[in-house]
C-alpha cells in the first residue's frame, strides 16, 4: 500500500512535468508564429505557411530569407544557452554560476570582435574562429583551475578572472577601432539576431540537436552529481568522465550559439532557475530549460524589435531580466529560503 503511494507521487510529478513541457512547447510555438507573422509588414499565418511550402510567392524574401532564419536562430540559440547554463549551474552547484558569468563565452566574443574589427572577415568565417576560441578558452580555464583535483569554486573564480582579462581586450579593440565599425561590434557583443545568414543555420541546428540528445542521455547521472562526488561514485557513476563529457557538450553548445548570435545575455543564467521554478527539481530539467531558453530569446527579440521606441538587439532586452532576477533571489532569501 505504502509502495503504491510512493509511486503515485512519482507518477503525478511526472504527469506535471510532461504537462508543463507541453505548455512550454505551445508558448514556443506561439512566439515562433508571432515572430514569423508580425513585422514591418504583417502576414496571416496561412499566408506564411503557403509561402514556406512554396505555394505562394507573396513576401517570399521577407519570410524565407529574413524571418525564418531569424526565428530558427532564436529558437536554437535559446535552446543551446538554456541547456548549457542549466548544466553548468547543476555541476557547479551554484545558481549564479552560469557560463556567461564565468567567462566561457568571453573567449568567443573577443575572437569574434577581433575578426570583425581588424580582419574584416565575413560572418561564417567569424563563426568558425569564435567556436575554436570558445573551446580553447574553456579548456584553458579548466586546466588552470585543475590542481590535483577538480574544484568548482576554483573554476568559477578562474573563470571570473579570465572574463575580466578578455573584457579588457574587447574594450581595447573597441577603443582603437574606427568609429564606423563600433556599433556593429557593440551590437555583436550583446548578442543579436540581425543578419543571420541561412547557410550558418544547418550546422547550428545539427550541433544543438545532437548535443541536446547526448545531454539527455546523461540526465540520470547529471541529477546525481550535485549530491557530491563520493555519493555519486557510490551510485556507480564515473564522476570525472561524466562531468568532463557534460562540460564539453555544454561548451560546444555555448561556443556554436555564441558564434552565430553573440553572447545573448542572461539566457544561460536564467533558463535553469525558471525551468526549476515551473517544473520542480525532481528531474534534470534539460528539456524544460531548453524550452525556457527558446522562449526567452524569442520573446526578447520580439520586444526588442517591435515594442520599443528604437530597435534593440535581443541581448540588451534579455540582459535586463538579469537585474530583477538577482533582486528576486535576494528577496526570497530574506524570507528565509535557500539560495
Amino acid at each position: 500500500m505504502k509502495n503504491n503511494n510512493l509511486f503515485e507521487g512519482v507518477k503525478s510529478r511526472r504527469k506535471k512535468y510532461i504537462l508543463s513541457l507541453v505548455v512550454l512547447w505551445l508558448i514556443v510555438l506561439i512566439l515562433f508564429c508571432l515572430n514569423m507573422t508580425i513585422g514591418e509588414k504583417n502576414y496571416s499565418p496561412l499566408q506564411v505557411i503557403n509561402t514556406l511550402t512554396g505555394h505562394s510567392s507573396e513576401g517570399a524574401y521577407l519570410i524565407n530569407k529574413l524571418r525564418l532564419p531569424r526565428s530558427l536562430a532564436a529558437v536554437f540559440s535559446g535552446i543551446a544557452f538554456g541547456v548549457a547554463g542549466n548544466v553548468f549551474q547543476t555541476l557547479l552547484r551554484n545558481p549564479l554560476a552560469s557560463p556567461d558569468i564565468i567567462g566561457v563565452s568571453s573567449g568567443s566574443t573577443a575572437a569574434a570582435v577581433y575578426c570583425i574589427l581588424f580582419l574584416n572577415m565575413n560572418r561564417s568565417l567569424v563563426s568558425v574562429v569564435a567556436v575554436i576560441a570558445g573551446v580553447l578558452t574553456s579548456v584553458l580555464i579548466y586546466k588552470i583551475a585543475y590542481i590535483h583535483s577538480f574544484s568548482a569554486n576554483r573554476l568559477i573564480l578562474v573563470g571570473i578572472g579570465t572574463q575580466a582579462l578578455f573584457t579588457a581586450f574587447i574594450s581595447w579593440m573597441i577603443m582603437s577601432a574606427s568609429e564606423y565599425d563600433v556599433p556593429t561590434a557593440m551590437r555583436w557583443m550583446n548578442g543579436n539576431l540581425n543578419g543571420i545568414v541561412t547557410d550558418s543555420l544547418p550546422l547550428l541546428i545539427v550541433v544543438v540537436i545532437s548535443c541536446l540528445l547526448a545531454i539527455i542521455c546523461l540526465r540520470h547521472q547529471m541529477v546525481s552529481l550535485p549530491l557530491g562526488d563520493s555519493y555519486a561514485t557510490i551510485l556507480g557513476i564515473h564522476v570525472n568522465l561524466v562531468r568532463t563529457v557534460l562540460i564539453v557538450l555544454s561548451v560546444i553548445l555555448i561556443a556554436f550559439a555564441t558564434a552565430i548570435t553573440g553572447p545573448i545575455a542572461s539566457i544561460a543564467f536564467l533558463s535553469g532557475p525558471i525551468a526549476k521554478r515551473i517544473c520542480g527539481h525532481n528531474q534534470a530539467n534539460i528539456l524544460s530549460s531548453a524550452l525556457v531558453g527558446a522562449i526567452l530569446v524569442l520573446a526578447g527579440d520580439f520586444v526588442g524589435q517591435h515594442l520599443l521606441y528604437t530597435r534593440f538587439p535581443v541581448g540588451v532586452i534579455t540582459g535586463l531580466l538579469g537585474g530583477p532576477y538577482l533582486i528576486y533571489v535576494l528577496v526570497k532569501q530574506n524570507k528565509g529560503g535557500q539560495l
Binding site: 551554484n94 549564479l96 554560476a97 556567461d100 558569468i101 564565468i102 588552470i144 583551475a145 590542481i147 574544484s151 569554486n153 576554483r154 568559477i156 573564480l157 578562474v158 571570473i160 578572472g161 579570465t162 572574463q163 575580466a164 582579462l165 573584457t167 579588457a168 581586450f169 574594450s171 581595447w172 573597441i174 577603443m175 582603437s176 568609429e179 563600433v182 556599433p183 557593440m186 551590437r187 550583446n190 545575455a265 542572461s266 543564467f269 521606441y309 528604437t310 534593440f312 541581448g315 540588451v316 534579455t318 540582459g319 535586463l320 538579469g322 537585474g323 532576477y325 538577482l326 533571489v329 535576494l330 532569501q333 530574506n334 535557500q338 539560495l339
Partner: protein, 332 residues
C-alpha cells in the same frame, strides 16, 4: 612584526614610486631629460618646448599617483571588511554601478560638471556595494569569497545591460562612454586633481583613523565586541571610505580594475597585517603600480597608447588567477 622588514618595504616602495613618477613624466612619444623637468619646476613661464611637455604631463602623473593610492586602499578596506582576499571594486561590481549612474546622469539629467559625476558615481557605487554584499550574504555560510565574487560578477553583467540599453540609441553618449568605460588617466588636468583631492584625503584619513579598529576586527568580531568596539560602526565607516575612494577615481578616470586586488594582497602576503602599515604601503605601491602600468601602456601601445585600465587588467588578471591557484580550496 618585523620592523626592519617594514622599514625596508617603505624605503623600496618610496624609491620605486619616485622612479615611476620620474619615468611617467619624462617618457612618452617625445622623451625629455632630467634638466627639462628641473627647468619646469624652477621656471614655470618658460616657453621651451620640452619644458612645456613636462608641464603638460605632470597632471597626468599626479592624478595617476592619487588614483593608484586611492584604488589600492579602497581594495584593502573591502578585503578587510569582507575578510576576503579577492575583494576589489571591479570584482564586486561597484565600478559598474558607478558607470550606470553616471550614464543615467549624463543621458537623462544632462549632468556636465565633474563634481556631479563624483556625486552620482558615489551613490551608484554605494548602492551596488550594499546590494552585492546582501546578495552574497544569502544562503548558507554568509558572504564567502566565492559567493561575493559571483554576486559581483552577476550584478555587473545585469547592470551593464542597463548601460547598453541607455547608451545604444544615443550616439553622442556612446562616444563619450566608449572612452570613459575603459579607464584612463590621460587627459586629466590640475582642476581635476584639485577636485578629487579633498574626497581622497577624507577617505584616506578615515581609513588611517580606523586602522587600529580594523586590526581588532581581524582577530574576530566577537573579540572586538568584547573589547568594547562597535564593530558595525567601524565596518560601516570603512565601507564608506572604501566606496568613496573608488567612486571618486572611477567618476573621473573610468573603471580601473585589479589595482585594489593585487597590491594589498601581495603586501599582506609578504609583510604584515598591521592596518596602519598596510594602508600606507598599499597607497605607495598602488600608486607605483598604476604609474608603471600607465608607462607600460605607452610603451606597448606605440605610436598611440594602451589605456591604463587595460594595462592593469592585463597585469592583474593573471595575478588574480595565481592568487586563486595558491589559495586553499577550503578558504575559497
Amino acid at each position: 612584526m618585523n620592523s626592519k622588514k617594514t622599514q625596508l618595504a617603505y624605503i623600496i616602495g618610496i624609491s620605486i614610486l619616485i622612479l615611476a613618477l620620474f619615468i611617467s613624466i619624462t617618457y612618452g612619444v617625445k622623451s625629455v631629460g632630467l634638466s627639462d623637468v628641473i627647468d619646469a619646476f624652477i621656471d614655470s613661464n618658460s616657453t621651451d618646448y620640452n619644458v612645456n611637455i613636462v608641464q603638460a604631463r605632470i597632471p597626468r602623473s599626479v592624478f595617476g599617483l592619487i588614483a593608484g593610492a586611492a584604488l589600492s586602499i579602497s581594495g584593502l578596506l573591502m578585503q578587510s571588511i569582507t575578510k576576503n582576499p579577492i575583494a576589489d571594486p571591479s570584482i564586486l561590481g561597484v565600478n559598474t554601478g558607478a558607470s550606470l549612474f553616471i550614464v543615467i546622469g549624463i543621458t537623462f539629467f544632462n549632468l556636465q560638471s565633474k563634481l556631479s559625476y563624483i556625486g552620482v558615481s558615489f551613490i551608484g557605487a554605494i548602492i551596488t556595494a550594499l546590494f552585492v554584499y546582501k546578495l552574497a550574504s544569502a544562503g548558507y555560510g554568509g558572504p564567502t569569497p566565492i559567493k561575493l565574487a559571483i554576486a559581483g560578477a552577476a550584478t555587473s553583467t545585469a547592470l551593464s545591460s542597463f548601460v547598453s540599453l541607455i547608451v545604444m540609441p544615443n550616439s553622442s553618449v556612446m562616444t563619450t562612454y566608449r572612452f570613459w568605460q575603459i579607464g584612463s588617466i590621460g587627459g586629466t588636468s590640475f582642476d581635476d586633481i584639485k577636485l578629487v583631492l579633498p574626497f581622497i584625503l577624507i577617505g584616506i584619513i578615515l581609513s588611517i583613523l580606523l586602522s587600529n579598529n580594523l586590526d581588532t576586527i581581524l582577530l574576530s568580531e566577537d573579540t572586538a565586541t568584547a573589547l568594547g568596539l562597535n564593530v558595525n560602526r567601524t565596518k560601516a565607516i570603512a565601507a564608506f571610505s572604501g566606496v568613496l575612494l573608488c567612486a571618486t577615481v572611477t567618476a573621473l578616470a573610468g573603471p580601473i580594475s585589479f589595482v585594489g586586488l593585487m597590491v594589498p594582497h601581495i603586501i599582506r602576503m609578504v609583510l604584515c597585517s598591521n592596518h596602519l602599515h598596510l594602508i600606507c604601503l598599499s597607497g605607495i605601491y598602488g600608486a607605483s603600480i598604476l604609474l608603471i602600468s600607465d608607462v607600460l601602456g605607452r610603451i606597448l601601445g606605440r605610436p598611440g597608447e594602451l589605456e591604463t585600465g587595460i594595462m592593469t587588467a592585463i597585469i592583474g588578471g593573471p595575478i588574480f588567477i595565481i592568487i586563486i591557484r595558491k589559495a586553499k580550496v577550503q578558504s575559497l
